[in-house]
Every structure is written in structure tokens, then in C-alpha cells.
């Protein structure tokens, strides 16, 4: 065994601004060539741990350090952030924000430029690194011309230009669609084999990371390391579930079916898990025993698009021949790759843009005559980033804003805001400033601010982006409760779990056209749609095949029905 490159020994850290330490008694070693996944719910300390590894702590974020952290044999606090960055290369979560250069080549060259590497070595090393991640044909492209996956590749190339010994990925899947995320995990795997560097991935999407082999999984919660073991061991136990990390869906299905998942069955991958004849029979029996959910009665059409076409002033056609209907009381997902036309569709509904052809109807009425403000009384739109919506300092005022601008009497405002705050679970915080809230709570405030206008439809852009499993569940259960009260909900999303668990059906866009409009179980088992919309086949489908169930789609549907009926209620 070689010496650890990174070694935490009884390490603790407390930010200067906080009363409590964020990390307690952390002991962890990472050796060259190892691949490590660090997971845990939001606020568990995993990002802080990442900052310690790459030197942002203590050099950019100040605080009190206890114990020891050595990087390549030297105490980290005695090094500088620049020295640490020679050993540890970091790919940040935000694929746009970390793009420093104006073009791909300049971004890759950034670290070399800062090291005063001159010609011709500079151009040579940039080309080599670009080729390693497969962006050598895009060297002169600007970030705006790249997809999210390509931007991430560029960031990776930007740290591969130096021979770093540790590659640190901070939530690499957060901003990618499912298919691109899968490719990212494959790329990380290939790069590791090629360079022999140690890889540390910080991520809470366990199933997606386990798509390729991982040596160890470190589970954190409350600033402590709870487990540091193989994926097989961890999946066999209950620790994941207890600490708010979502198990892979096939594991959940196996547990529902009463199959005991033990480490020796090698459950870390759906393709390789050992399922005995008896296990398979159990899954089949469970499949037969779950009754199909009763079909919901058809409700009247609330929102209809007929032959809608829209092109931006620069000539790019964003939507063409779009026709679809949303029925009252639905809770549906709008999916598709970036640029497929999802956001344009939302903008047209809200009246931010106007279609060149076709009509949009709300409850039978043509919306062409309605202003943005009038549409907002019927259709509420919640942006992805709550920081882009919140403009008031106090929660009450933020929620009241829309009513005040509509000249509603102050008395009625008070009544409606208070009622909405209760519905949204924000009542305890009613007199708090917005800045004291967590990201997820802010999201709720923005939903409340829209809900208070009593729209019949609420459209949410990536409602669960950046949320861990617990907060994800909270937000989605909340939306479900709203939906049960009669609000129609449309969610623009990349999240396949969200589709499976909550959405009744999925409306799939590709290249400005509607390519599918069907129940989620059907969408997520349809190869063509999956490919065109950059989705990923669900592991439940593979499980069905491995257990000899021919109708994979029905199996996925049963799983969904079972979760909704037996587990949730």
C-alpha cells in the first residue's frame, strides 16, 4: 500500500462566523489511485470537507482548525492554496460560473498562464489536455456555444493540464441532464484509469455515481463520518436511508419485495448484483401482488396549445407546431434537453414572449389579449433560483408583494398572506428576514409569493435542483398537497426520480417539438424517447428484465403505484 496523499486525523473545523464546529473528529485517508465517493445530506459538512481538501479552507474561508490534515505528507495549513492546487485539482459544481476563460483554449490554459508557462509548451499542453477529455475540436468556442457536459469537460481539462495527484469533483451531476451525467461518470472513470490519480467525488446522487465502480463510500452527517466502507456494505445496511440519502431504486424495489440485500450479493450495480432464483421469484410475486392504481377520471382541459410556433429575433426557431393539453388537477413533468423548447414554452404561457403562430388557450379563452400581469393571476411561474426572485427583506413583505401591487386592501393582504404562509409551512418564520432562511426555505418563500395570487396553474422550473433527498421530499410533498387542493402543477425538470415518484405524466420536448406525452413509466422505458430527450433508462426496468418480467413498463408502473399508495400514505 502506498502512503496516503490526503490524511485527516481527528480533524475539526469551525467557521469564524459560526457558533458550532462544522466538522467533528474527522479521520479519513485517501491513497493514490483510489476512487472515493463522499455523500451525505445538505449541511452534513461534505462541502466543507471538500474546501479543506482543496485549500479554500483555511485560506479563503477562515476558521478554527483542530487536529491535522496532511496533503502529500505536509500539513495543509502550512502550505498555501496555490501549493495545494498543485496536488489537488478541483472541478466545481457550477459549470457556467467556473468558466474563467473567454474560450475553451484559454480556460484550459488558465492554470498554466498563472504559472508563466510560455510558448510553445503552453499551446502543446492545452491541446493534450483537451484531447484527453474530447474537446480538442472546440478550442476556439466560447462558453455560450457549449453544452453543460462540454463545459464540465473543459473544467476537467483545466485541471488536467497540471499533473495533479487528486481530482476533486464537487457535485459533478448537479447541473447535468441524466444522460450527460452518466457520460460524466464514465469520463471520470476513464480519466482516472489514464492518469492514476486519486478521485474524490462529493455527491448525494448515489445511484448515478455508482454507475461506474467506486472503491469506498464515505457517509457523512452532522459534520461526522458515519461510515467509510465499500458500496456493497453500505447498500446492504440501513444507514443510507436513516441519513437521508436515496438508495438506488432497484435496491428499494428489492427491499419492497422482501429480498434481503446483503454485501456478498454485490449490490453496487444492477448489472452485477447476484439474484438467486428465489430472489427473482420474490420480485415476480411482489409484482403480481401490487394492484394497479385506479385510473383517474378525466378532467376538463385547462391549458391548451394549438400549432404554436416561436422563433427568437436572431432567427432560431425554438418551438414549431406545438400542440398539447394540460388538464385540470394534473401534476406533470415537462422534460427535454437544454434548448429543446421547455423554457420558451413557459415564457409564452407567462406572456414574456409572444408566439408567431398558433394559439394558447386558458380554460377555453384565447390568451392573446391578456397582459403579463393578467396571466399571472391564472398562471404562476416560479424560477429555478430563488435569489433571482426575492426582492424584499422580510418574508411577510415578499409574499405580500404581488397583492400590494394589485392594490388589494391591507386587511385582506394580511389574511391571505398568513393563510399562504401556513399552507407553505412558513408560519413559524413569518417575522424572520429572508436572509436567515436556507436555500430550500427560500424556495418555499418564492412558491408562497406566487401561490398567494391564487393561480390555477403553477409552473416550477427545476423545483428540486440543489436539494438533498430530505428537502426534495419536503418540497415535493408540499407540491403534492397543493395539487390535492386543486392546483394544477407543471414542473420543468431533469430529475428522473421526480418524474417517477410524483409526476402523473411527462411532456417531452426535443428540438422545439413535442415528441412524447405519456405516463412516466412509459417514457422512462421507451428507448427512442430516452435517447432524444437525454434521459436515462431506469434501473427498475433492468431489474424487471433480470427477474424475467417481460412487461418492464408495467413493473415500473407498479413500483410507482406501490410507493404512492403503500409507502407514502
Amino acid at each position: 500500500m502506498n502512503d496516503p496523499i490526503i490524511r485527516f486525523e481527528h480533524f475539526s473545523f469551525q467557521y469564524h462566523a459560526q457558533a458550532e464546529p462544522t466538522l467533528h473528529d474527522v479521520c479519513l485517508s485517501v491513497r493514490k489511485g483510489e476512487k472515493l465517493l463522499i455523500c451525505g445530506p445538505s449541511g452534513c459538512g461534505k462541502s466543507t470537507l471538500a474546501h479543506c481538501i482543496n485549500g479554500l479552507i483555511p485560506f479563503s474561508y477562515k476558521g478554527e482548525i483542530g487536529g491535522s490534515l496532511t496533503i502529500a505528507g505536509r500539513e495543509s495549513r502550512e502550505l498555501g492554496i496555490f501549493e495545494i492546487s498543485r496536488t489537488v485539482g478541483t472541478v466545481l459544481q457550477d459549470t457556467d460560473g467556473q468558466f474563467v476563460g473567454l474560450t475553451v483554449a484559454e480556460d484550459i490554459a488558465f492554470a498554466l498562464e498563472n504559472d508563466c508557462v510560455g510558448e510553445p509548451e503552453l499551446h502543446e499542453r492545452v491541446r493534450t489536455a483537451a484531447a484527453l477529455v474530447g474537446v480538442e475540436d472546440h478550442l476556439s468556442h466560447a462558453p455560450g456555444e457549449l453544452s453543460g457536459g462540454q463545459k464540465q469537460r473543459v473544467s476537467l481539462a483545466g485541471i488536467l493540464v497540471d499533473d495533479v495527484e487528486v481530482l476533486l469533483f464537487d457535485e459533478p451531476l448537479a447541473n447535468l441532464d441524466p444522460a450527460t451525467g452518466k457520460q460524466a461518470i464514465e469520463l471520470i472513470d476513464e480519466i482516472q484509469k489514464e492518469t492514476g490519480a486519486a478521485v474524490i467525488i462529493i455527491e448525494h446522487r448515489l445511484e448515478d455515481v455508482l454507475h461506474r465502480h467506486v472503491d469506498r463510500v464515505v457517509l457523512m452527517n452532522g459534520g461526522r463520518i458515519l461510515a467509510d466502507t465499500t458500496p456493497d456494505e453500505l447498500l446492504a445496511g440501513e444507514l443510507l436511508r436513516e441519513n437521508g440519502i436515496r438508495e438506488p431504486l432497484y435496491i428499494t424495489a428489492l427491499k419492497y419485495a422482501g429480498v434481503s440485500v446483503t454485501a456478498d450479493k454485490r449490490p453496487d450495480h444492477i448489472e452485477t448484483i447476484e439474484l438467486s432464483e428465489e430472489d427473482q421469484a420474490r420480485v415476480r410475486a411482489w409484482f403480481q401482488s401490487v394492484p394497479p392504481a385506479p385510473e383517474k377520471p378525466e378532467t376538463p382541459v385547462l391549458l391548451a396549445a394549438e400549432g404554436v410556433r416561436f422563433a427568437y429575433p436572431n432567427g432560431r426557431e425554438a418551438l414549431a407546431g406545438l400542440s398539447l393539453a394540460v388538464r385540470e388537477g394534473e401534476l406533470s413533468a415537462v422534460v427535454g434537453t437544454n434548448g429543446a423548447g421547455k423554457s420558451t414554452f413557459c415564457k409564452l404561457l407567462c406572456g414574456f414572449e409572444t408566439q408567431q403562430e398558433g394559439t394558447l388557450r386558458f380554460a377555453g379563452q384565447d390568451m392573446a389579449e391578456l397582459s403579463i400581469k393578467e396571466r399571472a393571476d391564472r398562471i404562476g411561474y416560479v424560477m429555478q433560483n430563488p435569489n433571482q426572485m426575492i426582492s424584499q427583506t422580510m418574508i411577510f413583505d415578499e409574499v405580500a408583494l404581488g397583492l400590494r401591487t394589485r392594490g388589494v386592501p391591507e386587511e385582506e393582504i394580511r389574511r391571505r398572506v398568513e393563510e399562504t404562509l401556513k399552507v407553505c409551512g412558513l408560519w413559524p418564520f413569518r417575522s424572520w428576514p429572508v436572509s436567515a432562511l436556507s436555500f430550500g426555505q427560500k424556495k418555499r418563500v418564492t412558491i408562497a409569493a406566487i401561490l398567494v395570487l391564487e393561480p390555477q396553474i403553477i409552473i416550477l422550473d427545476e423545483p428540486t435542483a440543489g436539494q438533498d433527498y430530505r428537502h426534495y421530499t419536503e418540497i415535493m410533498e408540499f407540491l403534492l398537497a397543493l395539487n390535492r387542493r386543486g392546483v394544477t402543477v407543471l414542473m420543468v425538470t431533469h430529475d428522473m426520480h421526480l418524474m417517477l415518484e410524483y409526476a402523473g405524466r411527462a411532456i417531452v420536448f426535443s428540438g422545439g417539438r413535442l415528441i412524447a406525452d405519456a405516463p412516466c413509466a412509459e417514457i422512462l422505458t421507451d428507448e427512442t424517447v430516452i435517447r432524444r430527450a437525454s434521459l436515462k433508462e431506469t434501473s427498475l426496468y433492468t431489474l424487471a428484465q433480470r427477474c424475467g418480467i417481460d412487461d418492464g413498463q408495467a413493473f415500473v408502473q407498479r413500483f410507482i403505484d406501490y410507493e404512492r399508495e403503500a409507502v407514502r400514505t
Binding site: 504559472d115 407567462c350 414574456f352 411561474y381 435569489n387 426572485m389
Partner: protein
Amino acid sequence: MRPLFNYIDRPSPVHRLTGAAKLVSMLLWTLAAMTTYDTRLLALLAVGGVALFAAARLRIADVSFLFGFILVFMVLNNLLVFLFAPEHGVSIYGTRHVLFSLGGRWVVTKEQLFYHLNLLLKYCAMIPVVMAFICTTQPSEFAASLNRIGVKYTVAYSVALALRYIPDVQRDYHEISQAQQARGIEMSRKESLIKRLKSASAILIPLILSSMDRIEVISNAMELRGFGKNKKRSWYMARPFTAGDVLAMILCALLFAAALILNRLNGGRFYNPFV
């Protein structure tokens, strides 16, 4: 939504010059235009400036916003000069040829008109050249050239980054204002000024908050990749000077020298056709 001003990728001889040479030439050119009021030289610079703008294959439409802004400013500037100092030309040139009177102290003289012509020429001498520089130099090359003429690279890079983020911030502004409009925030002229100022804050606060997030990410990303480590850095976009670069800089230096010599010959900054 058109960017305020930006690099325009439309290959031309001006685009091909290296950033540093263009920056030096642009500075010399504008210095020449600033130091002199010699009408002959200003006319030459104005004609040359417009020619350069055309040679860079730029169109008025590319810079319509900035152009409109400067046009308004120029008209205002001239109007105010005439309003407050109608005899300014007379005091400069020492003669008084009255053309006609607009009543009161506002008498139009040949000298005053000539002075206004000079003001106008000054704008025409400087603005097209500055615009041509901005639109033909990539921000990163701009940073590299600032660094080359002695500005610290950390400062130079920050300037370039700020320029680069203008389109992003514009897009954010657009999105935020749409979402706030949906909540009933009116930005139209129908509302009173106070209401509109309040509305503006409803857009600016989210804009500032989300920009702060952006700044934190970018500064972490830069620091993690060694920005600020050394006193110097190399530039991927840096190019050695070509014959064309040297020629451009010599020409502009000559123009600046001509401005200084003319100041000496004219016995002041003004060329006087009236004596």
C-alpha cells in the same frame, strides 16, 4: 436584447492587429485628438477615424445603443456651450463676425460656429476609433494588452472579466424583470417616478444577490487554479508584434507628435483662420 457593446467577430485588417498594438495606437490617437484644436488635424483624424471604423467592417447598428447615447451627449454638450458661453469663440479667436441674433445675449458669430465645428470634429475624431478598438479586441486580449503596457495583470484581468460578464448580467436582468412583472411590478412610463424607483429596486436587489453568488464562484475557481500566485503570468492569446502593428503604432505616434508641433506653431491649441 442586444449586448451594450462587445467583441464582433467579423475578420478585418483591424481585427488582425494585436491587442497591445491597438491599445497603444488608440491611446495615442485619442491623445492627439484631445490635445489639439487645430481644425485641419482634427478633420484629418475625424476622416481617418470614420475610415478605420469602416475598415474594421463595423456598422452603426452594431453599436447603436452607445452611438445614440453619445449623439445625445454631443448635441447636449454643444447646446449648453452655446447657452452659457455664446461669446466663447470670440474670446478664443479675438475677432467678432456677427451673422445674426437670436435675441438677448445670444448672438451667432462666425467664431462661435467655428468653435462648435471643432467640438464636433473632436467627437468624430475620437469616438469611431474607440468603438473600433472595443469591437475588434477580445476581452482576454484586451487584458493581455493592458498587462503588456504595464497594468498589473490582476487588475487587467478583472477589467476583462467585468466586460465579459456584462451580457450575462443583462440576461439575468431581463429574466428577473420578467418574473417581477408577472408579480405586478410595473416598469412602464405610466407609473410615477417614485413607484418606478421602487420597482427598480425589486429587480436590482435580486440582480445584485445573484451576481454576488456568481462572483464568489468565479473567484474561488480562479484562486484554485493559481490566479495571483506569481507577479507575472503568460497569456494564451498573446501574439508577437507584426510589421503592421509597428506601422500602426508609428503612425499614431506621428499624429500625436503632429498635434504637439501644431500647438507650438499655432501658439496655442487653436488654429485661427480669422487673422
